[in-house]
């Protein structure tokens, strides 16, 4: 036990004094966490929109229907609506921004409500006439005569008053890069408004929406567990084999093998060292996430156990690689060839939903996918869904890799 403790302490000291190791294991994941969480924390973009409602009554108050339309605009999340007084004359304004203080302005014309009502009436009558025409064959002669009379009256009414759609005007500056996006949003709002004004409550066709991905998780909530796992993976599969190969090459390992230290103690000391580092660095990342992004995460015993188990499994894999490879550079290359593709296909750098379906299916075979998914469940979502399976998977891998490391690590017959 004293041998194990002393060697673990030595390895920790050696690690903390190794600037490259500290950078790749601690600083690098922190930089990634800060960058990714910042880039993806912005959410959907917002577009400023000035609205001038000219459809007002004698007291200057907006008509109820125009107010409903403006309300619909305000409810559209990507739009940041600002109100422009109706007495502001924009008919001859060359510079919209100078006149209103806004890059783009939507003008609702006077008489908007009356024309919407008229147009709505025409559309409804057209629907009724169409219904009558379709059912005419099933009626008696008297019923048909009465309907003909009704249809004639409706046709006469529909033909009176203003005809055609109401036009709202979007005033844009020529260099407005977001014009297309804003027009799209307005099309959507107008479409919804039209449906409501016509009053067809039960449309024949519905659009079913389906949400996927990490619902309700912020960017840092997604990337924090992902980069904790990335840190453990990089440390275990890249840093450890490099260090082991280096110790092997410069004779340090041979020197240790000439002492009463056993081979399994050497492997175990490295595994314990990395487990301590994993917990410690996770703590640092949680503090940074709290300080920079305000995400307060307090890991429980299960999440700490999962972090340690992953560190054991991946460090044992690293010890296997280090046991096989003699050259430090080659060990890093082989470790990288394992770690980097695993991170890419496992959703470390982006959500799995953004990947092609085939790759998503492949990702399900990656232990890294299950590892950071379960860590997210425990750390961020406070749930244990799927966590038991991940514990089993990592435990199995830890045993296999540890036995493999014992098998390939030489304790005699050094080159």
């Amino acid at each position: 036990m004293k041998r194990l403790a002393s060697l673990t302490t030595t390895l920790l000291r050696d690690w903390f004094r190794n600037r490259e190791a500290v950078f790749f294991a601690l600083v690098f994941p922190l930089i990634l966490l800060l960058i990714f969480s910042t880039v993806f924390a912005g959410g959907a973009a917002e577009f400023d929109l000035g609205v001038q409602n000219n459809d007002v009554n004698e007291t200057g108050a907006p008509t109820p229907l125009s107010a409903t339309f403006v309300d619909a605009l305000e409810r559209a999340e990507p739009l940041n609506v600002a109100h422009i007084d109706s007495d502001q004359d924009l008919s001859n304004a060359d510079q919209i921004a100078e006149a209103t203080g806004h890059q783009r302005v939507l003008v609702i014309p006077n008489g908007f409500a009356d024309r919407v009502r008229a147009q709505s009436g025409r559309v409804r009558m057209a629907v009724i006439r169409d219904t009558i025409t379709r059912t005419r064959g099933n009626l008696t002669d008297d019923q048909q005569t009465a309907l003909d009379q009704l249809q004639a009256n409706m046709t006469a009414q529909a033909g009176s008053g203003d005809s055609g759609s109401v036009e709202v005007t979007l005033l844009l500056t020529p260099d407005d890069d977001a014009a297309g996006a804003v027009e799209s949003i307005l099309d959507s709002v107008v479409g919804t408004f039209n449906d409501r004004s016509i009053g067809v409550e039960e449309p024949t066709t519905r659009i079913q929406t389906e949400e996927r991905g990490a619902e309700g998780i912020s960017a840092v909530g997604y990337f924090l567990p992902a980069f904790i796992v990335a840190m453990i993976l990089i440390n275990g599969v890249m840093t450890v084999p490099s260090a082991v190969a280096s110790f092997k090459r410069d004779g340090t390992l041979k020197r240790l093998a000439a002492t009463p230290l056993r081979k399994h103690e050497w492997i175990l000391a490295n595994v314990i060292q990395q487990s301590i580092l994993a917990v410690g660095i996770t703590g640092v990342m949680l503090v940074v996430a709290w300080a920079v992004f305000g995400v307060r995460v307090v890991p429980g015993p299960l999440s700490i156990a999962l972090i340690v188990l992953g560190a054991i499994a991946f460090t044992a894999l690293g010890m296997m690689i280090g046991g096989i490879i003699r050259d430090s550079g080659s060990a890093i290359s082989l470790g990288g060839a394992i770690a980097l593709p695993l991170m890419f296909i496992s959703g470390i750098f982006w959500e799995l939903d953004l990947m092609p379906t085939k790759l998503q299916q492949v990702a399900e075979f990656s232990p890294v996918t299950h590892y950071h998914r379960s860590l997210r469940q425990l750390l961020i979502l406070d749930s244990t869904a799927g966590v038991a399976g991940t514990f089993g998977l990592l435990l199995g891998l830890a045993v296999i890799f540890f036995v493999g490391a014992l098998f390939v690590t030489r304790w005699q017959e050094f080159d």
Partner: protein, 318 residues
């Protein structure tokens, strides 16, 4: 099996190590006595390092047996490791750790170690105790290696080429450290290709060539047996093509035997000082322009006699 403290701390019997068709250690038998400095002398590739690594448990023998301190090197491997100290040929340790931390690590790996401060003091490393190993000069790195080996308070200390690459001052310093060890109860097994190192330190020496031990005894006995007591070195002028002139003829006639390491040099070995002295005067009288030296015979002459060649400074045969 536990071993009583024997007179012979190392017993080697018909030990062999093969790598495929290559025999690195060939049927070697010898003993090492308590509290002596035992030298293992030979050229590079002679099998010295392989032999000591077999005794350290770092290699497994193909055939034969050996005990260290009464423990079998295969059956009681960790009992052996707990009582020996090792300074490998290409010694290295955690370079970012200080001297004290490296020694402390070694202390914690053994069952009955010395205090770190004791070893630091014994090897005059106190001033460098907190210096990172990687920042030390080659001499102090080697000294740290010896300190790391001594902190286990070993009964047998294996030193493999301990002064290779060191400057003369550092070599002398290391020799002083090694020389005092038997008095402190540590038997030293010194592997080297330096003749002067063996002459300065070893109580007994084994000459190892091509995997086998060709001779084993004290330095004085080996010199007397194989090299005589005095030798005359004659360096020929470059104009002399084959060296077959009067000086060479005289040397051949008077010396017990002669060797010619290269075309420009001839060595005559004499069994008594008086004959050698007279021959030396006569040779100078023949032609004073020749470079003629009268020197006492040493391990180099022994090696020349036993192996049929001598060694260069890098340890290669020539």
């Amino acid at each position: 099996m536990a071993g009583d403290t024997p007179h012979s701390v190392v017993q080697v019997s018909n030990l062999q190590k093969k790598y495929g068709s290559t025999t690195a250690v060939d049927d070697v038998s010898f003993e090492i006595h308590t509290d002596e400095i035992f030298g293992l002398l030979g050229p590079n590739g002679a099998g010295k390092t392989t032999l000591v690594e077999l005794l350290q448990g770092l290699r497994t023998p193909t055939a034969g047996a050996a005990t260290v301190l009464g423990y079998d090197i295969q059956d009681d491997l960790y009992a052996v490791k707990d009582r020996i100290g090792v300074v490998p040929q290409s010694f290295h340790t955690f370079e970012r750790l200080s001297v004290r931390e490296n020694i402390a690590l070694m202390r914690d790996l053994y069952s009955d170690p010395l205090a770190v401060e004791t070893v630091l003091d014994r090897l005059d490393l106190d001033d460098y105790a907190d210096t990172a190993f990687g920042s030390l000069s080659g001499g102090f790195q080697r000294r740290t290696g010896i300190a790391m080996a001594l902190v286990s308070d070993p009964d047998v200390l294996f030193l493999d080429e301990p002064t290779t690459g060191l400057d003369p001052a550092a070599r002398r310093g290391t020799w002083q450290q090694i020389d005092q060890l038997p008095a402190l109860g540590t038997t030293v097994v010194l592997t080297t290709h330096y003749m002067d190192e063996i002459e300065a330190l070893a109580d007994r020496v084994a000459l190892m060539v091509d995997g086998g031990i060709r001779a084993i005894d004290t330095v004085a006995a080996l010199v007397e047996r194989y090299a005589g007591t005095v030798k005359i070195n004659v360096t020929l002028p470059k104009s002399t093509a084959d060296g077959d002139d009067q000086i060479m003829t005289t040397l051949r006639q008077r010396a017990r035997e002669t060797h010619q390491p290269d075309s420009q040099e001839m060595v005559g070995i004499f069994d008594d000082q008086q004959t050698a002295q007279k021959t030396f005067s006569d040779l100078h009288g023949i032609d004073p322009n020749y470079s003629i030296e009268l020197v006492s015979a040493g391990m180099e002459d022994v090696f020349l006699e036993v192996a049929g060649s001598t060694l260069d400074t890098a340890g290669n045969r020539r």
